[in-house]
Subunit: 504 residues, 2 copies
């Protein structure tokens, strides 16, 4: 339905509306049963008074062209016999069999309630996976307007190559050389965030029923991507050195998975750094069993106690390691830019698929970040970020020492974004979330990161988003909540004990 | 491998490099067989002279720790027995069985050669699907720097909701109301370009073997997306009124496809506008057979001879129509932003999948375009664009009238980006591409848009990218190329005739 108001016309506006709708009904353009927009909405979209639309509809009713029905709004009647369109004609699609086989695997609402708590203004949030917005490199926008407005090549605004601009692939090569990976430009590809890279890798490698091995616990959006393609995901437990290779090898022998997904640097959620010996062992297992390793290095740049250990990709001469990382943790997540370093056959296949998926990543973001790296400001910013986050990490560590009950266990991370804590016996993270919400502090319960639904005794605490005073206050509140639950669980236990020892 | 140069150290730089690599080999961090970076690359990444690296490598060789091998570069030897790592240990992954079943359907290189021709500086290109960069609304960047730098909410830089910011969904609702679709905000969702929307829709709706119906010819990246999920794609021929509904109904009866993909407004590639009667008929068929319609309206805003016809979505009270459109044709393609209007059950399912695919669309692009719509500048820009493109469309029409041979047929489009031409009998588009390249003019051959590989007698000409004088000159060149081929084909035909009539 479309209506054009001509303000220069001497004809009243309500009549203009009436005549145009009438014409569209008589011509059959508006079919019987069509619901006219509510008067208020139409008035808004035309920029006229509601009364004007009311008058137009009144005229249409007087001609027997439309009618109002409770619960259905204003409906076009059939013409010329003016018989009401039969209500049974209104039928929605059959939703039950509409969606594809694996579409039930996308679970959007898992964290929605939790984030609703965390985003409340008075809540101290350890639940996010982002840095404090204030610490972001706002300077990347300095001079941007002048450069774009005076630019003659419009590079930042038009299509870019599916693999990413040549210039940013070059810059990424240089970043990788500093990390000990001497890749060529043909092995580098940009993505709309590293999550897209994970999803594309899954789509080019996985058929339904294929097996993927992940650390247990692991980064759950990766697990969701694998499952959404019909893959079976198997978790390998970790100890304080990283993934347990003895168990991994058993899985490799028995199931021949398509690839192993791992985050060796400051893993999300555990904050753990996989030791060098495990990295080498993992690479050797991949070669032996001819299985790919997807090395997710989202946090590798954020090392607070000296240099990070060598990347598994730096050991890879053959092409078994698919390395991925992101600018979301180091620059801004809203720019949606991540990258991959992999064998060029993988890059070619990913390019072919990405062309179908979103053609290419945002050109403006590529241009902004390339400019940021080239100027040397990216390196400076990373140094500053590491300093800031080390201070925050230490603040959370101190606060835990000060306030935590003796039976709360944690690991002090050498880098990344998170503390991973084990709750005192009998305290469930799902209960603690609610109790903590009363004290206005939020975190993510550990079970979120387990493929098995286990992990109720763990919680993940982010230390980069809150300020130092908030960290202190937040940990104080959290520990209070834990003590509250401990007391009530002691009561419960006492109660249970009575129940279990009936008077005989 | 990682090396840190300390310029304050009194030790020579080459010795620092030597010792660090030595240490890493002895510790086992660099495993036997590991290829050291080429001297030039390492020198570059460390910011030292190549000679410095050469000297360090010489020392390592002297200790028997590394060795150079032709074709393999400089390799770490095994320690302590210094036995050369066996060359057969170097094994690439087995690529043959690496990729997923349908990954062969992504065909990246289809147009690569063609675009290489079209992008040469001296070539007049009718091959693109973009507007001339100069006509883009550069003003969208005015004031952006100040707003971002002075902003306190960092909205444009951080994560946004998966469905898109509330504010841009609201703005899109208003755009849709002007197009006669009175949707609510919960029916609107933003995507990283409309191609992503097509791909996501395919992924939530299609299982391998499912059938999708498209117009023949059709927008080929959509067809590729459907095929990449294992779908079978069936083409329905078009006449000058749009998709042939009689043939469509036969397909609907026989195959029960999952959905019908159509572009009723100024279709890519034909430029055709589906007539109103067909739109209504198509909607009625969708209801009758309970099949979804994906209505791609990429060009709906670009109508040059009056108002476009009602959208199929404007007839939809039940939820059978999934409407998609894009800001790539109207604003800038590099911003990667498109949208969908569909039943909220579809929006919810898409949200769940998009969360796994790329979390959300670029926040900065959403913020820029929302600002552009809200200010009223988007509407003004569209008016100006329609004027500019009408002039270019008319220029191409005039040029065709002036230069075309009598047996070249075309259709004058009422909107959109393209002329669709039927070549004289016997002229093949694949040959014309090469001949036209000699005359420095480029276009897309029609067969690209057919699911069947047919269409060799058609070509698609874009008129929005080139300037008016270039359009005149380019059509002149193209027609010369056609005449050249006609002459040689006449010769060939004469020759063939002789062959077919042997002297008996």
């Amino acid at each position: 339905m479309r209506i054009v108001i001509n303000r220069d016309d001497t004809k009243a506006v309500y009549l203009q509306i009436f005549e145009q709708i009438r014409q569209q009904i008589l011509s059959g353009e508006l079919i019987p049963g069509f619901t006219l927009p509510p008067e208020r909405k139409l008035a808004e979209s035309l920029g006229v008074n509601r009364t004007t639309v009311l008058n137009a509809y009144r005229e249409l009713k007087a001609e027997g062209l439309i009618d109002s029905r409770v619960g259905k709004g204003t409906i076009v009647l059939s013409y010329p016999d003016s018989e009401l369109s039969n209500a049974t004609h209104y039928e929605e699609p059959v939703w039950d069999h509409t969606f594809s086989q694996y579409s039930g695997q996308f679970d959007p609402f898992m964290l929605k309630e939790l984030l609703a708590i965390a985003n409340r203004k008075d809540v101290i949030s350890f639940a996010t996976g982002i840095a404090s917005p204030e610490s972001g490199p706002l300077q990347i926008f300095k001079g941007i307007e002048e450069e774009i407005l005076n630019s003659n090549d419009y590079k930042a605004l038009l299509h870019s190559p599916t693999e990413g601009f040549h210039s940013i692939r070059e810059s990424v090569c240089q970043l990788m050389h500093k990390r000990g990976v001497y890749c060529g430009i043909e092995e580098v590809m940009l993505f709309s965030g590293s999550q897209q890279c994970i999803d594309i890798m899954a789509r080019i490698l996985l058929d339904p029923g294929d097996i993927v091995v992940v650390e247990e616990p692991s980064f759950f959006p990766a697990v969701q991507a694998f499952k959404s393609l019909g893959a079976r995901v198997m978790g390998v437990p970790m100890d304080d050195k990283g993934m347990r290779l003895d168990i991994l090898e058993q899985l490799l022998q028995r199931y021949r998975p398509k690839f192993i997904y791992t985050m060796p640097n400051f893993q999300n959620p555990t904050g753990l750094e996989m030791v060098l010996e495990r990295r080498k062992g993992l690479y050797e297992l991949a070669r032996k069993y001819k299985v790919f390793i997807m090395e997710d290095d989202a946090y590798g740049d954020l090392s607070y106690d000296g240099m990070p250990l060598p990347l598994i990709k730096s050991m890879d001469n053959e092409g078994y390691v698919i390395y991925i990382s992101t600018f979301s943790k180091s620059v801004y997540p809203g720019l949606r830019l991540g990258w991959m370093v992999a064998h060029k056959k993988i890059v070619q296949k990913c390019t072919a698929l990405k062309q179908v998926m979103d053609i290419h990543s945002n050109s403006l973001s590529q241009w902004i970040i390339e400019r940021f790296i080239r100027s040397g400001d990216f390196d400076k910013h990373m140094k500053k970020s590491c300093n800031d986050y080390r201070i925050k990490r230490d603040a959370m560590y101190e606060a835990l020492l000060n306030y935590a009950p003796h039976d709360l266990k944690w690991h002090k991370p050498k880098g990344g974004y998170y503390f991973w804590c084990k709750l005192p016996n009998g305290i469930l993270a799902s209960k603690l979330v609610l109790k903590a919400a009363e004290y206005k502090v939020a975190f993510v319960p550990g079970s979120t990161f387990f493929t098995s639904g286990e992990g109720e005794e763990y919680i993940r605490l982010n230390f980069t988003f809150a300020s130092v005073p908030e960290i202190d206050e937040g940990i104080k509140r959290l520990c209070k909540a834990i003590r509250d639950l401990k007391e009530s669980s002691d009561d419960e236990e006492a109660f249970n004990n009575i129940e279990m020892n009936p008077i005989v």
